[in-house]
Subunit: 565 residues, 2 copies
């Protein structure tokens, strides 16, 4: 029996996973992994934590949990995989079933036959087409080389000021890493907000935290030019003319699928710029598969193609491709929810499914939103705040997306939400979830379930909610709603919104109804710290005839604007 | 319009939740909450953490997040609820729609009419029917009074030795609390293991940790008598005759639904001893509802009635009852998964759905199990171990239950698993989950997804797994499988099972096949630290003709027996 030969191009995440899975299914197949870089199987999502000094041994990024470096020798001995590093594939010939490789050390070129080929060529960082990109001191954080470069800067402590261009996941992680290294950081973002997978008001809460940790943030502004002297970066010039002095700039404005080889080989490229694949991770050529950051995926909520370059998806897709090249399309990849999470100093920020902005952009017009702020566990256990925003379809009740930010256990919230989306759950399905409860882990009614309760109350018309943004807009437009803070006097003393509010503690409200506007049509905006008392206040007022009594969702904690104290 | 009068019996968890929900839906209803104890709305799941010194202010157990004590004044002013403490309901007359109350301070008795009644009488700790239960120094941890008593012992440091009777959730939490107070603890458990919601081998891993933290554990042994002198506890005598000296005994052998009132009123009591309710939390009398620890619930996996006295369920059921007494059966409680979690010193232990033991007891015979051990995140981020056991139906692939123990993020694992059970997901549904991944939170392939991968491999016949228990049994029965440890020599040096294993590191295996038994029928048991390399080893051997090459699931980390080092 002729041995099957599997060739995999790319040795970062999807490639090694593909090769390893193929090997487990066929001990006798010949499996060749071709990698342009020197390193293999790099934990690239860990780069910011190496740069930031969470750990010091660079080899941890390329080692097994027991400390063995994943080099060609390891791949050969432990995995039976012929991994060739510093080997660049320069062409694929689908008709001949060959790839042409260039050995970067020797310059030699050779040709390798394949039975099945898997393209895992990843993505490339986008570099803005502006003057000065060749100056010393400009980098991305996309490769081991980049990580080494930035880590050296951290260790040598000879850089005072840096600019991070781009406020997405990698930009924010890099900001944190460099800030922790004692460098003065400014994050510059073209959009009006950081982390565009979040809605504006959620991102604003994160931005306030980033500022509180000492970093500067400039939004609504792009970089027009890099400035330099003697070949070295000295600053960046922004689109609005501002010049920021800096000795280091990290470009993190996103990545594009690396499809040069696939395109040249005539494989179909999708509308998003990624390699088009079917549910088997098979390209337009049935003997060529692709996986990881170079492909496009289907968003299962919108049913639209997206480019979702995430480390976990690369591994899952590699597992599917690895099975299918051996077993023949027995495994499928079902699509993505675009789940993401990011540590931001003492906060986490995560999202799954649609944000309100994404829903709007896609033309959804039957969604409802709700914001829930609450501790993640009882106060006596050392609680941390969680602020969630849920999106659901008004007609079907189906959950469309959940975002969560704050110092609390965001990861569990988003994992739970991703499962709800996976199941196509409606809000009603979430009302009585039997979650793992004990005081060290959650509130008796978990924050996620409470978010669903609020959404159900809103969908049933029991909770008349208004978002902080809508309240702010009313004030900007010189509307005059009656603003009612129902917290205690001590809480009011410590911190308040300063938007013309009246303080009537909830416990006094039933006795002080005469202090409210006589006109029962007046819009009344109730809130407290997290707007549970605010909700009860709005219900009391409604029951006493005020037709427009509303609760400002999330209360003081979810207010994304300046506060008085 | 006549005001509706709602009477709620019980002021712990379900009762106050019922009353609060009812109030939110009807500002004008008359809502009376009758509570036998002095305190209201106690965070009873927090008692062990107060006793253990996690926090010092007792009022935190009975306060709102902003520090207001939830006393009758608070209930009246903030919630509009007439909460009457030290008021014991002595009878319900369903025909007359009245309850008879005794005021414990004055001894006065009066009668209150109701339109709808909600019974939230909770559960009572079981006290074993043995001699000596009236001695000083014996307590439960079920009330504020108990918590005060044990906290005083902690603060006064005048007790040297204590016995905790019962190794369930509360027993283990109490053990931790008292151990942290510097008291010598022995936990005595009648069953062969602690935490019977776990399977034996999972519980054994927890037990090893409890012992490592300094507590003594005696299983397979009950308490036969309390021993005393001058009315004071001096020790306990076990069923096997052993006497344990102690000045304190905490009884935590479980609770029984408190149904005396309901029974006397003629309400139907279910087969589990809890009040029978329908999905609306309505008892056999349509004007009487019940919620919390006094009711029985339906397990949605087995469709059998169970008694599930958990704080989260009490709140969720109270919310349903509170809505239905106002709005007329518009809300339903869908049943329970029997999800639970518990902190055990530096470990957590959780479960949702069926354990293998439960499945066996119910007569399931088509289930498959798998054990997965892995870090919860990358090693460079400071990983902690997770050990999970999943149960799935062999025919349908449906997940039946998940248990997880270890120092890692168990809470997220069990929350995710509970969502999978809620959705009725099959193992295939879990293979490509799009979970929130970043190195501070998880591995690129989350532990839960990896557990599903292992189960899929097992269901497809790709992974020939064997449990540590089955291996141990073989050795006890003097069978002679070939035991193959495929870790590195350093790892072997540090810790090994000592069960006659041969060490061949995975990277050497393909070159050392001649060191394996010539007879290709020999059973070969492969493992490594967590049995990923062990799995690959078993596949290599199978591919080279060994028909009975298996992987011992979970590897060294999931081995529940003694190790050599």
């Amino acid at each position: 029996m002729k041995k099957k030969r599997i060739v995999v191009i790319g040795g970062s995440a999807a490639g090694p996973k593909t090769a390893a899975k193929a090997r487990r299914l066929d001990e006798h197949a010949e499996i060749i992994l071709l990698q342009k870089d020197k390193d293999l199987s790099m934990a690239s999502c860990g780069y910011p934590y190496y740069v930031g000094g969470v750990f010091d041994d660079r080899n941890e990024l390329i080692s097994t949990p027991t400390g063995v470096v994943r080099n060609p020798k390891f791949f050969l001995n432990a995995k039976g995989i012929d991994a060739r590093t510093e080997t660049e594939v320069v062409a694929i010939d689908p008709k001949e079933h060959t790839v042409t490789c260039k050995h970067l050390q020797s310059g030699d070129v050779d040709t390798i036959n394949y039975d099945k080929l898997v393209v895992c060529t990843g993505a490339r960082p986008i570099i803005p087409p502006i003057p000065g990109t060749d100056l010393d001191g400009i980098t991305t954080l996309q490769s081991m080389k980049d990580a080494d470069f930035l880590r050296k800067i951290r260790d040598e402590k000879n850089i005072r000021k840096a600019v991070v261009i781009g406020g997405g996941l990698i930009g924010i992680e890099t900001c944190e890493a460099l800030e922790l290294a004692g460098i003065d950081i400014t994050v510059v973002e073209l959009a009006p907000q950081l982390l565009t997978f979040l809605d504006w008001e959620m991102a604003e809460i994160v931005e306030n935290h980033v500022r509180a940790k000492g970093s500067n943030v400039i939004t609504n502004n792009g970089v027009a030019a890099f400035l330099g002297e003697g070949g070295k970066l000295t600053g960046v010039k922004l689109a609005n003319g501002t010049e920021l002095e800096c000795e280091l700039a990290v470009v993190a404005i996103g990545v594009r699928p690396n499809v040069d080889l696939a395109k040249a080989a005539g494989l179909t490229i999708g509308e998003t710029g990624g390699i088009a694949v079917n549910e088997y991770m098979q390209t337009s050529d049935p003997d060529i598969y692709a996986a990881g950051d170079c492909v496009e995926s289907r968003n299962v909520i919108t049913n639209k193609k997206v480019h979702a370059p995430m480390g976990d998806l690369a591994n899952l897709q590699g597992r599917v491709a690895g099975e299918n090249v051996i077993a023949g399309n027995t495994a499928t990849f079902s699509g993505v929810l675009q789940t993401g999470i990011c540590k931001v100093f003492d906060f986490s920020a995560g999202s799954t499914g649609l944000s309100e902005a994404a829903a709007k952009q896609l033309g959804y017009d039957t969604y409802e939103t709700v914001v829930n702020a609450s501790p993640d566990k009882p106060g006596f256990m050392g609680a941390n705040l969680l602020i969630s925003k849920m999106l659901a379809d008004k007609k079907t009740g189906k959950v469309l997306g959940v975002q969560c930010v704050g110092p609390g256990d965001v990861s569990k919230q988003i994992a739970t939400a991703a499962m709800a989306l996976k199941g196509g759950f409606t809000v009603d399905d979430l009302i009585n979830l039997d979650m793992p409860y004990a005081p060290p882990f959650s509130l008796a009614i978990d924050h996620f379930v409470a978010t669903a309760h609020l959404m159900q109350n809103k969908l049933k018309g029991r909770l008349q909610g208004i978002s902080p943004c809508a309240v702010h807009e009313k004030l900007e437009n010189h509307e005059k709603p009656f603003i009612l803070d129902v917290r205690g006097p001590d809480e009011f003393e410590q911190m308040r919104l300063g938007i013309g509010e009246t303080l009537i503690p909830l416990g006094m409200l039933r006795k002080r109804l005469e202090d409210l506007p006589e006109d029962k049509e007046t819009e009344i905006i109730c809130y407290c710290k997290i707007s549970l008392r605010g909700y009860e206040a709005s219900l009391i007022l409604q029951a006493h005839g005020w037709k427009n009594a509303k609760v400002m969702e999330g209360g003081v904690m979810a207010w994304p604007y300046n506060r008085e104290k």
